[in-house]
């Protein structure tokens, strides 16, 4: 059955296993300003067997055109987030996905952060004082601030305007779903972009720790499946489409 897409709807899709984080995540989502004539849904999947299966379940259960897949420990502090991503998607219909932090090329070893990073400032919260006097209530993104193309984006937040299934056949855990999905989008001819964020748009409260226990298993799968694209930039990869 063909689903009618609601062009004026956003859906946040979250896999969750921690009620305290989820409630705090909701707190920030509930502070977002919804653009006129648009609506917003929040879908949580609490019994997912993997990130990809949870995201596929979320994707198929909403008619929203704009889906924001994100972690339960991501707190969006840019209250104009929805209108800002809308303005980016509307700039160019080939933009299929927006991330907050990204990488213009695919690292040769498959580890995202071994490439140059763009977007969200990794110094946030590092005592750098870079945003010591930031006024988040006054901040507005302007299209003139710019966007940058990426090959890969960090899975903590991935906003899409196009539905492509997540690879739940290969990916049975909670790792590498972001890199696989980015390759999927690029090879379908979609642009992936990251906005310039003069102030942080979100906080990823991961305790400054990244769990790596299953990471290598999926890194090897990635290296195998996307071997021709290792070390390549987003533009090189899109040439293959």
């Amino acid at each position: 059955m063909c689903k009618t897409i609601n062009e004026h709807k956003f859906a946040f899709i979250l896999c969750t296993n921690h009620d305290i984080y989820l409630q705090e995540c909701f707190h920030y989502l509930n502070q977002l300003i919804i653009p006129d004539n648009y609506e917003m849904d929040i879908l949580t999947i609490s019994d997912a067997s993997s990130m990809t299966s949870g995201y596929n379940e979320g994707m198929s259960s909403t008619d929203a055109k704009y889906k924001i897949y994100m972690h339960q420990d991501v707190f969006i502090i840019n209250r104009h987030f929805l209108s800002d991503i809308l303005s980016i998607f509307q700039q160019d219909s080939s933009i299929g996905m927006i991330g907050m932090a990204g990488y213009p090329s695919v690292s040769a070893d498959g580890i995202m952060w071994h490439s140059r990073r763009i977007g969200a400032d990794p110094m946030y919260g590092s005592d750098s004082n870079a945003y010591a006097h930031a006024d988040y209530n006054q901040y507005r993104y302007s299209p003139s601030d710019g966007i940058a193309d990426a090959a890969l984006i960090d899975g903590c937040l991935m906003a899409t305007s196009t539905d492509l299934p997540w690879d739940d056949k290969c990916l049975k855990d909670w790792d590498f779903y972001d890199a696989f999905q980015c390759m999927n989008f690029l090879l379908h001819g979609c642009r992936i972009v990251v906005p310039t964020q003069k102030l942080p748009w979100f906080i990823h409260d991961d305790g400054r720790i990244l769990s790596m226990w299953n990471y290598d298993k999926y890194r090897r799968l990635f290296l195998e499946k996307y071997a021709p694209y290792l070390g390549k930039s987003y533009s090189d990869i899109r040439k293959h489409t």
């Binding site: 707190h27 690292s107 040769a108 005592d127 004082n129 010591a132 305790g207 400054r208 720790i209 290598d216």
Partner: protein, 234 residues
């Protein structure tokens, strides 16, 4: 971004790191379980000093190299650091209201979230909820300081001042002085200097009050008058 001499070196290092991670995995997970059990026991039986038995896991060189790859264990380490100072300065421990590791983590996270709401000040309602939570838990200045240093906070001026406003009626005057002193070490903001001076006057330490007041740039008539009356007093 890491820098390497060659692509081969990058790939070899990644391979070596993942091998080490895999080799350490079962050992680290079992130690983690033991740590949780130990924390559960100490909190339930109120044997707080026994928590320090866990310190070697964090502080001995080369012990459990991959062990820090867990936000839970990182927070146990923060808890130990907080507790050390709370015992030293005879403060009610941050953990005094919890009976298990799970309770501790819940209180810890709720405290981080409430502090962040004070820092960001996105709405009055969010601030009020945060204040209500923070005043309901035994939050010492040491707990607040360690949390502010180890979690994601950026606007420390806002965080410290808003937390001070919230906790002032609960913290002792000495704690309030210490907290504002820490704030001023980060950022010499006028309202905090003034507040700290008033606190020193309250405990009749007029020389310290004077020392702080004279650092205020372009003081108002009222402040200038206060400075001169303090000067006479000294």
């Amino acid at each position: 971004m890491a820098t390497y001499q060659s692509l081969d070196e990058l790939i070899q290092k990644a391979e070596a790191n993942f091998k080490k991670l895999e080799a350490d995995k079962s050992y680290c997970l079992s130690v983690y379980q033991n740590m949780r059990q130990h924390v559960d026991f100490c909190l339930d039986s109120r044997q707080y000093e026994a928590l320090f038995d866990l310190l070697p896991y964090f502080e001995e060189p080369d012990s459990y190299p991959q062990f820090h790859n867990s936000s839970d264990t990182k927070r146990i380490h923060i808890l130990l650091n907080i507790l050390k100072l709370e015992i030293k300065y005879k403060k009610e421990p941050f953990i005094s209201a919890v009976n298990s590791f799970k309770d501790f983590m819940e209180q810890y996270l709720m405290t981080v979230f409430a502090m962040r709401r004070l820092e960001l000040a996105l709405s009055e309602e969010a601030m009020a909820e945060a204040s209500s939570y923070l005043t309901s838990v035994p939050l010492s200045i040491y707990a607040a300081m360690f949390i502010s240093q180890n979690e994601y906070f950026e606007n420390h001026g806002n965080l410290f001042w808003n937390l001070y406003t919230c906790m002032k009626p609960i913290w002792s005057i000495e704690d309030n002085i210490q907290w504002l002193t820490w704030l001023l070490e980060r950022e010499p903001v006028r309202h905090a200097i003034l507040e700290l001076s008033y606190l020193y006057m309250e405990i009749q330490n007029y020389s310290r009050a004077y020392q702080y007041l004279i650092t205020i740039p372009s003081p108002s008539k009222e402040i200038a008058a206060l400075i001169s009356s303090l000067k006479e007093l000294l």
